[in-house]
Symmetry: C2
Subunit: 331 residues, 2 copies
């Protein structure tokens, strides 16, 4: 009996030690594994060095094509003209019309009655007439590439096809046809403008620091990013009904640390404003339009606590392409 009693004791002691030792080793194992896992590159870094994750799972065609997003207000006749023009451009996947005519019926019925059409056209009826309505991350958007066009601007199919091929090589940039720039003044206040402005002491040629999204390709991931901006940015855009395109350039420049845009020299781009029967002329005719835009640049610098915009002097055109006779040179 007694030695039985004795003999069981060491066994139990050993069992407890074994238990303790095991748990210690397992904890070490977990710690090491954890530490090493932390060193692994995140999938984001791996798969998309410069861009946020894809908005949605995408078909192959959705990768080789783009979605046209066009916001319209008070110019339905122009809208229909432009829809007829753009519905046949190469690589177009879908058209999303952002309908800012609050309370008005869309021309969807008439549009469908005149079908068939090459690609689907979706009318997104809005409840408030906001400039930034076009910058939503629309669920109907299935492509990586977005082509955003103002509802009064006509760009040739050739220019669009070439610019899309350029965007495919620079998917993290806004690739478009209308460059603009900011300049800094000795007072530290920024001014917004175009070729008429020049940074002091800058030499030959010109520079741009923005490419307007009213005639440009950009990655749909940036629409997602736009939903995560400071409230003050939305307030600024709504207050001015302006500057959503400047805000997008700030966003892209901050995201890439590079110039936000790549300027593709258009061969044929036209403003159709005068063709509308509504007599409505774009908001950029308002006396305060340009002043507002300089105001926005300075506001955005405050909101983002710095000036992310960078200058570029690269102008891309198609090698060996013979310019049209009716070439309209925006530069």
């Amino acid at each position: 009996m007694r030695y039985f009693h004795f003999c069981k004791l060491p066994g139990r002691v050993m069992g407890i030690r074994l238990l303790r030792f095991t748990s210690v080793v397992i904890i070490v194992l977990l710690l090491v594994a954890g530490a090493l896992t932390a060193l692994l590159p995140s999938i984001k870094d791996d798969k998309l060095p410069n861009l946020r994750r894809e908005p949605k799972p995408q078909s192959q065609s959705a990768l080789d094509s783009f979605t046209l997003i066009m916001q319209t207000y008070n110019r339905t006749d122009l809208l229909l003209k432009l829809l007829n023009h753009y519905q046949a451009i190469p690589n177009l996947h879908k058209v999303i019309v952002v309908w800012n005519n609050i309370g008005e019926k869309t021309p969807e019925e008439m549009w469908n009655s005149l079908g068939p059409h090459p690609v689907p056209v979706v009318f997104k009826v809005q409840s408030v007439n906001r400039m930034r309505n076009r910058l939503q991350n629309f669920p109907e958007l299935e492509t990586k590439a977005v082509l955003m066009m103002d509802d009064d601007t006509l760009v040739s199919a050739h220019d669009l096809a070439f610019a899309f091929s350029v965007w495919q090589q620079f998917p993290e940039h806004i690739v478009g046809f209308v460059p603009r720039k900011h300049i800094s003044t000795p007072s530290g206040v920024y001014s917004y403008g175009s070729f008429e402005l020049q940074n002091p002491g800058f030499g030959n040629g010109d520079q741009y620091s923005m490419v307007l999204i009213g005639a440009a390709f950009f990655h749909s991931g940036y629409l997602e990013d736009f939903q995560r901006q400071p409230e003050a940015v939305y307030a600024l855009i709504d207050e001015t009904q302006n500057c959503d395109d400047i805000a997008m350039n700030f966003l892209v420049a901050k995201h890439t640390g590079k110039p936000s845009g790549v300027f593709v020299k258009p061969v044929d781009i036209r403003n159709l404003e005068k063709d509308t029967n509504s007599g409505y002329s774009g908001m950029w005719h308002r006396a305060e339009h340009l002043l507002q835009r300089s105001y926005c640049v300075n506001k955005l610098v405050n909101i983002y606590d710095g000036m992310p915009l960078k200058y570029s002097n690269i102008m891309i055109s198609q090698f060996g392409f013979p310019n049209y006779a009716n070439h309209k040179n925006k530069m």
Copy 2:
């Protein structure tokens, strides 16, 4: 005694189990650690996504500047003219003259007697007159960027300054002023040429698949890579005294998987050949010159077991730069 004897036995057994268990856990620990470590990105992938390691440790100025490499044969008067022109271009770090006048004295003494000069000029006396002498990884080369110029070509300082800024944005490409292309024929044989050739069924505009290194910027790491090519490549270049530039485009296209070159539209580029007193005219005047180049393309496809060259239709020019009156458009 007896129960002592009894009592030690279980203890020993426990000790052995403990030992076994420990070693098993340690092995598992090592395996997990090893597996996770294998998943870590290699430093190379991390630090230089697209380019081989730097040739040498570099000063800051060596990073913001470039080295001009000019090979000369039988046109010393032109060489001196070009040296005087290029020695004052912005961001020039050093000039390396590859002296292919075998047995002839270099003009170094005279050059120095007319000093001071803004940057050092190094004469590299060669023992054999070879086209590919200029493609050595010269120990005097301290910059990442190389500007290679033929000894009969004058490019404006403005064009060079702009092209250098473009190269800084595309350091893995050959950034230059003279685009060329290959075309494939139904027989499977490739042909070399310029704007006079067109791929069957290709639409608007033109394409290029090479940018010649006789007037171009490229990364000095590619000179290092050139030393590691198959012997057959050197044999082909020496046999023809031609095609070293085509070989470089193959090398870069293979390395990047992209088009080898980026074409910058020159505003003012001139050929000074007729200005030489030697009466010597460049090798590209030889009747067989172009035929040789098509021959080289097909040979290189065999050597590299495939056609790495890719097409681009991007032409870059400086935004807002007013073209010279004396603009000579190479396109």
